[in-house]
Symmetry: C2
Subunit: 128 residues, 2 copies
């Protein structure tokens, strides 16, 4: 195995909201994705989900017990969505993110709103 | 919980080779560290270890079955050291890294050479 430049990984595909698996850490994946516009409201019942913004800006709306709010992650920021919290990512402009989550985690979670055509319901694609 | 800017996390401490825990993802930690010079040869018998270079350049020497080699990670590159592979990180200049590994993972692994004074043998410190 050799180191992987995230810029090269991101340059290897064009699809939005369609994560690529960069490497595995035990039974977790490190994934990168290009995103813009709305994802879909969804929830992972059994796992937290980690976001790092590599470029651009990611908004994550959260439906917490206390109510709904949106956190904003500028480039270089991180946030973990706790398991069981319904959330919807959104990017106002082309954005690149890195995700850390258990292998097999579905992009649209265990429960979700109707998945629009521009969102890829996947457990991540291999990097080519 | 609020998003955390990695730049602010890194600005909150000065110690080298002394990771700070930025957030948790299930039973894994996301840690950041400032590093320069040599770490120590060590091995994690039961876990892989993920490195992302945020700034600077990290070298990781590896003692693999086929022999010893060193991988070089420029800024923006990632690498996973497989469990059971003895390794020694080294940074030729001040460098910032992000790590994913199970909570409780010791910086010097399960087996290691003598730990020099400049290396902090820790499972990670809380971010203040």
């Amino acid at each position: 195995m050799e180191p992987i430049a995230l810029s090269a990984a991101l340059a290897s595909f064009t699809e939005q909201w369609s994560p690529r698996i960069v490497t595995a850490v035990n039974d977790y994946d490190v994934r990168v994705a290009k995103v813009e516009g709305d994802h879909v409201w969804h929830v992972h019942d059994r796992t937290d989900e980690f976001f790092l913004v590599l470029d651009g800006e990611l908004h994550i709306s959260l439906r917490e017990p206390a109510g709904e709010r949106t956190v904003v992650l500028p480039k270089g920021s991180v946030f973990t969505v706790p398991r069981g919290i319904e959330h919807k990512p959104y990017a106002p402009a082309p954005t690149a993110i890195l995700l850390f989550e258990p292998t097999g985690t579905l992009t649209v979670g265990d429960r979700h709103d109707d998945v629009p055509d521009h969102v890829d319901a996947t457990t991540g694609h291999a990097l080519r």
